[in-house]
């Protein structure tokens, strides 16, 4: 959802950033298993990357804030395997399979997993020319959809400048709801001054950019 707890940019009160010296890649073996499970099941293509994000964003806020990163990944994954019919609640309760699975469109084999991983390509052919060009002044829309979006709250209804066109990409707002509804949209880097985002007291030395899909933008 859009105005859920994950949208943290500009919030106060979370304290200092605490870096862990010599941090391991995974802090416990189960974290690595969650990471791998997510990637292995994600490869089936039943949901989009934003569908995955949405299932984490909509965790109860108290859970979102208290769970570790891979706990959140796990809780989101558990929700998805149930929602997409891969696993039943009864099976989770039993701790083992109670029914045969139906074959997935794609399954990662050890031979696949031995190759260096390669990230998906999100670029798609455009159905119309880009509406904006670098240098254009734009205003982000005021929008509060009840569903997933990638326009952060702190950058809504703000005036900025298009710095670059990044191509035409899968649109998260629709692909989160249905992996087949890619609805490709032009993607731009849009830069804002600190003052525009945070007011007169903002540090004049800062500029912030977001990666904004065309439906998020209006001419300024």
């Amino acid at each position: 959802m859009s105005n859920t707890i994950h949208d943290m940019g500009g919030m106060h009160g979370f304290g200092k950033v605490e870096a862990e010296p010599n941090e391991p890649v995974f802090h416990a073996p189960w974290e690595g298993r969650v990471h791998a499970l997510q990637r292995a099941i994600g490869a089936a293509g039943l949901w989009s990357i934003d569908g995955g994000r949405a299932s984490i964003e909509t965790l109860p806020p108290t859970t979102y804030l208290s769970a570790s990163y891979y706990q959140k990944w796990f809780l989101g994954l558990e929700r998805r395997v149930i929602r997409y019919g891969l696993v039943g609640e009864d099976e989770l309760a039993a701790g083992h399979s109670l029914r045969a699975g139906t074959p997935l469109p794609n399954k990662i084999t050890p031979a696949d997993a031995a190759k260096p991983p390669i990230r998906g390509n999100f670029a798609r052919p455009a159905s119309a020319p880009a509406r904006f060009k670098p240098g254009d002044r734009v205003r982000t829309r005021e929008m509060n959809p009840a569903t997933h979006t990638r326009l952060p709250r702190y950058a809504r209804d703000k005036e900025g400048v298009v710095e670059a066109i990044r191509g035409c990409h899968v649109y998260p707002d629709t692909a989160a709801l249905d992996v087949h509804n890619e609805n490709p949209q032009w993607l731009y880097t849009v830069v804002f001054t600190g003052k525009e985002l945070w007011g007169d007291e903002a540090d004049p030395a800062i500029k912030v950019s977001i990666e904004a899909f065309e439906p998020y933008l209006l001419p300024a």
């Binding site: 994950h6 949208d7 940019g9 979370f14 950033v17 605490e18 870096a19 941090e23 890649v25 189960w30 298993r33 990471h35 791998a36 499970l37 292995a40 099941i41 089936a44 994000r53 964003e57 859970t63 769970a67 990163y69 706990q71 796990f74 809780l75 994954l77 395997v81 099976e91 989770l92 701790g95 083992h96 399979s97 699975g101 074959p103 084999t109 050890p110 997993a113 031995a114 260096p116 390669i118 990230r119 998906g120 390509n121 670029a123 326009l151 952060p152 702190y154 990409h169 998260p172 880097t189 945070w198 540090d203 030395a205 800062i206 500029k207 912030v208 950019s209 977001i210 904004a212 899909f213």
Partner: protein
């Protein structure tokens, strides 16, 4: 055995190990995943894909102006042409620190990070303090990392809100003029390529 009577209390978190094991068992029994493949997926990020990959690109950019130009123009193509271990899928963008501008990368909405060149992100990068403050108080965040910039340096924050991914190319420190690419790559830390650190030649071997 996972206890689903208590989905919304603390046990949801404390029995996580058992629940992960149960889910893997179920998915394996149903034929959806192969544990041997999972082992390899874990191993790739534990042993092969990490910030050393990105550090090599930066060190090479410092030494080879043509490579640097190519990296800044199209980091995906430049990284892939350089024989980089992990193929860069797409949409990698390199941003260069200059005396005028310091770059800082964040994902305020989740944890977007250039895995292929930096490996998996550290906990702090995915944490609420970093995600909330980087866009409103970047100097405070940099101070948490012991980094102070000249007062007239512009700080440019890149919020990774789409599938584009960013790697910072830090400035090559003075005193490293005769260093080899290998030696240079050792001072290009993960934090340098996120923007929360600066390369420190005096700390290098």
């Amino acid at each position: 055995m996972p206890d689903h009577q208590h989905d919304h209390d603390h046990s949801e978190l404390s029995d996580i190990q058992l629940r992960v094991r149960a889910l893997e068992t179920i998915l394996t029994e149903k034929g959806y995943v192969d544990p041997a493949a999972l082992d390899l997926l874990v191993e790739a990020y534990e042993t092969k894909i990490g910030p050393k990959n990105g550090a090599r690109l930066v060190a090479r950019a410092w030494i080879d102006p043509d490579f640097k130009a190519a990296l800044l123009k199209d980091a995906t193509a430049a990284a892939n042409a350089s024989g980089h271990f992990s193929p860069v899928g797409s949409h990698l963008i390199a941003v260069e620190n200059t005396p005028q501008t310091h770059n800082l990368v964040v994902c305020t909405l989740c944890s977007c990070y250039p895995w292929e060149v930096l490996g998996l992100p550290p906990v702090w990068y995915k944490s609420a303090p970093y995600r909330s403050r980087a866009v409103i108080d970047p100097k405070g965040v940099l101070a948490d990392f012991g980094v102070t910039l000249p007062a007239d340096t512009e700080i440019r924050i890149w919020d990774s809100t789409a599938e584009t991914r960013f790697i910072v190319v830090p400035m090559r420190p003075p005193g490293t003029e005769n260093w080899s690419e290998d030696r240079l790559s050792e001072i290009v830390t993960r934090d340098c390529m996120i923007g929360t650190g600066l390369p420190m030649p005096e700390g290098a071997r």
